[in-house]
């Protein structure tokens, strides 16, 4: 395994770890999959479609998200939004994240 491959693998692992929080943070308002993908991309986080859609389904199955089909521009779209449980969970996750960032900042300083 080359250095570049190792770097790519570690970066991939790091990104995977934050995708859940990134997606939840943007789902306070309704988003369909592609609009969420673009929003994350605009904010600087490129997420693979093959990762995001199964993740959204899993989070919905866990009760963190809710979804509803809507017909827009003659096209059905599935909109996702935080459920009541997801709304309770998000601040806790943000706090955890702040803690991790603070610890890692100290370590990497």
């Amino acid at each position: 395994m080359t250095n570049n491959e190792s770097l790519e693998n570690v970066v991939l692992e790091l990104r995977r770890g934050v995708i859940v929080l990134a997606a939840l943070s943007q789902l306070g308002t309704e988003q369909y999959g592609y609009s969420l993908l673009k929003k994350l991309s605009d904010l600087g986080l490129e997420v693979d479609q093959g990762t995001l859609y199964p993740l959204l389904r899993r989070l919905e199955a866990q009760g963190v998200l809710e979804s509803v089909w809507k017909l827009e521009e003659s096209r059905p779209r599935r909109y996702y939004v935080l459920s009541a449980e997801g709304k309770k969970l998000l601040p806790k996750l943000k706090k955890e994240w702040a803690g991790i960032v603070s610890v890692m900042d100290k370590m990497l300083a």
Binding site: Y34, K38, Y53, R57, R77
Partner: protein, 340 residues
């Protein structure tokens, strides 16, 4: 049918058996159409097949996309795997032992034990053991793959996942330590063997009782007693070595070397007992002469006994060679740990 529709249908065909397949297909189609429209707008091109092909190429192979929806990419998941290995070890061990014993019995009942029949019986037995072990493995995998999908993983908590006490950890065995009762028992039994075989060989008889008739026939032949002085040398050497073990309380390089030497010597003697004239006096003739059996029964039982004793000697050689290898391994690891 548009390319996107064909793509979505292909993903659908490859989706794992999850709920909401239609839902996944519908969402995928909607996403692809959004992406296509977006690309057309950005590039100022109309939506055509070329654009579709570019998009789908970038999106990925249908099989790959379908697999991302697989919630259970394992045949047997990591949570159930330790329990699977635990069951597998037990079943394979039991199946192998039972079939080996059955094969041994079948070979022992061959009359006479020679020629192509013997080779065929050994071959059939061994292939049967391998076949049964593979079949058992396949069946266990099948059962666990089904359990993985229908039984909650929490039902299969291994002991270490439950609350545990570090004090319950097993003591790591000390490889060189000698349990004092082992050499003592070995000395006692060796003395008993020496006294019986050398001073009371008249005790070595086999009682035969059938249909109200009884007879005692000597167990061992002259061929055995010709080898007895050599066997005695091995036994005395073992007594001396066990005495050294009691004194030191540990296996040392010298006791291991002595042990290997004794075992090699015993293998040589066993080899001569195996290849030489039979050491068992129980023969078709002696059984018939006892008056307990008729000619046919005497022939069958005599052959069984003669074959059986050679198999036992063969197993003895095999077991002793394994012991030699084990002792050699311990000797090598002991030497390397000393040099470290």
């Amino acid at each position: 049918m548009k390319l996107i529709d064909r793509y979505v249908a292909e993903v659908g065909r490859n989706l794992p058996l999850v709920r909401g397949r239609k839902d996944i297909e519908k969402e995928l189609r909607s996403t692809l159409e959004d992406m296509l429209e977006d690309r057309a707008r950005k590039s100022g091109q109309p939506v055509d097949e070329t654009l579709e092909i570019d998009l789908l190429k970038e999106y990925g192979a249908p099989q790959t996309i379908a697999q991302t929806y697989n919630p259970q990419p394992y045949l047997i998941g990591p949570r159930m795997f330790p329990f699977f290995v635990f069951v597998l070890k037990i079943v394979i061990t039991v199946v192998t032992i039972v079939l080996l014993v059955l094969t041994g019995i079948e070979i022992a009942t061959l009359s006479p034990m020679a020629g192509p029949d013997f080779v065929k019986a050994v071959w059939d037995g061994l292939t049967g053991v391998v076949g049964a072990a593979i079949a058992a493995f396949g069946n266990i995998v099948l059962v666990f793959a089904i359990l993985e999908r229908f039984v909650p993983a929490s039902e299969f908590q291994m002991d270490e996942e439950k609350e545990w006490d570090p004090a319950s950890l097993k003591k790591e065995p000390e490889p060189d330590e000698v349990k004092i009762w082992e050499p003592i028992l070995a000395i006692v039994f060796t003395f008993i063997a020496i006294s019986i075989f050398n001073f009371n060989p008249q005790w070595l008889v086999i009682p035969i009782i059938a249909d109200d008739k009884a007879a005692f026939i000597p167990a061992l032949t002259e061929a055995f007693f010709r080898w007895l002085p050599w066997i005695n040398i091995g036994w005395v050497a073992e007594i001396v070595m066990n005495g050294m073990l009691i004194r030191t309380g540990r296996w040392t390089i010298s006791t291991r070397l002595v042990s290997i030497g004794i075992k090699v010597f015993q293998v040589v003697i066993l080899y001569f007992l195996f290849t030489g004239p039979s050491i068992l006096a129980v023969t078709p003739e002696s059984l018939q002469a006892s008056g307990v059996f008729d000619a046919d029964a005497a022939q069958t039982l005599g052959d069984l006994a003669q074959n059986g004793v050679r198999i036992l000697i063969g197993l003895g050689i095999f077991g002793t060679v394994i012991e030699i290898i084990k002792t050699l391994y311990k000797l090598v690891t002991q030497r390397s740990s000393i040099s470290v």
